[in-house]
């Protein structure tokens, strides 16, 4: 950022101008992301075995009856697209909340085991107990909260150190994964490929019954998290600074954890733990927006865009249909390694 220095501007001017410039960049990025999500959503509705023009799609969405399109778009593609958006928003929002709160991009729920806890519980409820719908979501949320509490308690020793929390999370994730493996090995009737698909995250077979609870969860927990934006940003400065600024640190943390875990659990129960979305959304959003205030909204949009685009790619870009989680996993994993390489090189935190 080199400012033009013909008449030396006063510091106040520079700061003020920088602020305006960054705010406008942030607005621009959010607008572009939102538009991109809308476009990807529309494309998801139009493209498929049969192509429907935008007009038909719009009429179906608005509720009128179009022969053919009403079933394909209204019953098959619309729930899938809505679930993609809702799950993407949920994963993105929850991921960036954890990353902000713990001041480390590696502390996303899928790295530290919270997502694994939710998916182990959901798999247990589906396969062993034979439950479905809301009961599964509730089991997932209880387990995910329990796992979050467990990790936090175990990491607590003279305060919570981010590094210790991440390593402990990796250990807990390994346990949860072994439980999931056990449950799936019991699933005689459940096809192995189907199990593997669900474990990486898949939008196949999305129905309104699965989508609606996730949407409700987003409408409940999303605003709660957005209401904590200011406090979360203060937490990024460190607990002591935040409480000096008048933030009630523990309260903020508990609210944020419960809301973020709720989002993760409902989304995971509906479509499986879509790999790496909650990890990727935050750092990508940070790259796009720059150091300009809260990342919550941009990260949520990035999450939605990732899931929509990855699902489109998975369905149509290759010879076989890949579930969305395979695409996000294959994209996200190298990025995770790149982040680690970069942070090791510079020696700082990520």
């Amino acid at each position: 950022m080199t400012a033009v220095v013909s008449p030396p501007p006063s510091t106040v001017d520079t700061v003020a101008r920088g602020r305006v410039r960054r705010a406008s960049r942030r607005r621009l990025v959010i607008t572009v992301l939102a538009l991109a999500v809308v476009v990807a959503f529309a494309v998801t509705l139009m493209v498929g075995r049969t192509f429907y023009p935008p007009g038909d799609v719009l009429r179906v969405v608005l509720g009128s009856d179009v022969p053919g399109a009403s079933f394909t778009v209204g019953r098959l593609r619309l729930p899938r697209a809505v679930l993609a958006v809702v799950a993407g928003l949920s994963f993105g929002l929850a991921g960036v909340t954890f990353q902000t709160m713990l001041r480390n991009p590696l502390a996303s729920p899928d790295v530290i085991g919270i997502t694994s806890g939710a998916s182990a519980a959901a798999a247990f409820a589906i396969v062993i107990l034979g439950w479905s719908g809301t009961a599964v979501s509730v089991t997932a949320i209880v387990a995910a909260l329990g796992v979050a509490l467990l990790i936090y308690t175990l990491a607590f020793k003279d305060g919570v150190a981010g590094t210790r929390l991440i390593l402990i999370g990796i250990g807990v994730a390994a346990m949860c994964k072994s439980i999931t493996s056990y449950v799936l090995s019991k699933a005689g009737a459940w096809d192995f490929a189907e199990a593997l698909r669900w474990l990486t995250g898949s939008l196949n077979g999305s129905t309104w019954e699965a989508t609606v609870p996730t949407l409700v969860a987003l409408l409940v927990f999303g605003p709660v998290l957005l209401g904590q934006t200011r406090n979360l940003s203060a937490l990024q400065l460190g607990d002591d600074t935040a409480s000096a600024l008048g933030v009630r640190v523990e309260r903020t943390r508990v609210i944020a954890i419960v809301a973020a875990v709720g989002l993760i659990a409902f989304a995971t129960a509906a479509c499986g733990p879509i790999a790496f979305v909650s990890f990727l959304a935050g750092p990508i959003a940070a790259r796009l927006v720059g150091p300009n205030g809260s990342l919550l909204v941009p990260a949520a949009l990035v999450g939605a865009l990732l899931v929509l685009v990855a699902d489109l790619c998975g369905q149509y870009a290759f010879g076989t249909r890949y579930p969305v989680g395979v695409i996000t996993g294959v994209l996200g994993a190298p990025y995770l390694i790149y982040l680690i390489i970069r942070s090791n090189r510079t020696g700082g935190s990520l």
């Binding site: 210790r164 402990i168 072994s178 990486t200 996993g329 294959v330 090791n344």
Partner: protein, 347 residues
């Protein structure tokens, strides 16, 4: 482990134990191993009498009971061999990296072997057992070099945190690739999923015979490097001062460790945490001298895996719990305990 101080060493294990104590422990763990092997042959979903077990051990398979016992024999042998390989491999890895969290599973080396095997089967049509073992060892070696390189970038070299993170990230990455390769292949996906969990259930003597040469070389190389691991434990400068060729010693030891865990993964799937837990236990028993630690880790590793396999057959009767699941359930809390004991700046 009660109130051990997390002083400079990983465990507050004594540096040396008097000889008789170590011999006593050696007898104890050997006795335990024999007992567990006996249990592994005797216990299963079908109850068999002693006469049937003895008859089956003598080579007869006439009654149903004898046939069941006959099937348990290769399985027991495999559990012993794989457990010993993983335990020893973990001990060597912890010595080479001077890192208490090193383990073929935690560092993602098992997953490197898995990816190589899955890719080999799916893309290159590898069918012969020997070529699969070669693929696994190659994959393990590549993953080991990669994780170590990533983990030792930057200041402070390969700290436990950096290595564990690099390993976890690499594991996650490799798992994604394995899924991407296996999913479209309906013909192999079931095998891949069940193999991924890690188990010794389908053991045959032919399978064991295929990996045996690799394991023998791996055991030999690893055990031979005990002395140089002792020097390396003093730090690179001091080891060099003592006349150790540091890079060579480290490379040889790492090669032995990779051979062991690659071959073990090829035959039993990626079984985690055995290599993590076992050396820590053994350090408590016999101290940090690698000439004792390495053989002990092999024996205790064999005990752990055989015991876990027996336990898996008892708790989930009449079916069974794959041994990879049990070792993760036992080993992960152990991993967490080690992490908790470390001071933050040591991470």
């Amino acid at each position: 482990m009660t109130s051990v101080r997390p002083a400079p060493a990983l465990d507050a294990a004594p540096v040396r134990r008097p000889g008789p104590v170590r011999f006593l422990w050696l007898l104890v763990v050997l006795g335990l191993l024999v007992a567990l092997m006996g249990a592994s042959v005797a216990i299963g979903s079908r109850d068999v009498g002693w006469s049937e077990i003895l008859a089956a051990l003598g080579g007869s398979a006439e009654t149903m009971g004898e046939a069941a016992v006959t099937k348990r024999i290769p399985r027991t042998v495999l559990a012993v061999v794989v457990g010993a390989a993983l335990g020893l491999s973990g001990a060597v890895m912890q010595g080479v990296t001077r890192n208490p969290l090193a383990d073929p599973g935690v560092l993602g080396i098992n997953m490197g072997a898995s990816l190589a095997v899955v890719a080999g089967i799916a893309w290159f049509g590898l069918f012969s057992a020997t070529s699969i073992v070669w693929a696994a060892i190659t994959g393990a070696a590549v993953a080991a070099v990669f994780v170590y390189a990533v983990g030792s970038l930057g200041r402070g070299g390969a700290t436990p945190l950096k290595l564990a993170l690099a390993g976890a990230a690499t594991s996650a990455a490799l798992t994604s690739f394995i899924t991407a390769i296996a999913l479209p292949r309906g013909d192999i996906v079931e095998n891949v999923v069940s193999w991924e969990i890690g188990g010794v259930g389908g053991a045959t003597f032919t399978g064991i015979g295929t990996v045996a040469p690799f394991l023998v070389v791996g055991f030999a190389v690893s055990l031979v490097s005990a002395r140089s691991l002792n020097s390396l434990a003093l730090g690179d400068e001091l080891a060099a001062g003592l006349g150790e060729r540091v890079a060579l010693a480290r490379g040889v030891a790492a090669l032995g460790s990779v051979l062991l865990c690659g071959a073990a993964t090829a035959v039993a799937g990626p079984i985690g945490f055995v290599g993590l837990v076992v050396p820590h236990l053994c350090r408590l028993l016999v101290g940090v001298d690698h000439r004792w630690l390495l053989p002990f880790s092999a024996i205790v590793g064999a005990c752990l895996l055989t015991g876990a396999d027996v336990l898996g057959r008892i708790v989930a009767r009449p079916t069974e719990l794959d041994v990879g699941i049990l070792t993760a359930l036992i080993g992960a809390p152990f991993f967490i305990a080690i992490v908790r004991r470390q001071k933050v700046r040591e991470l």
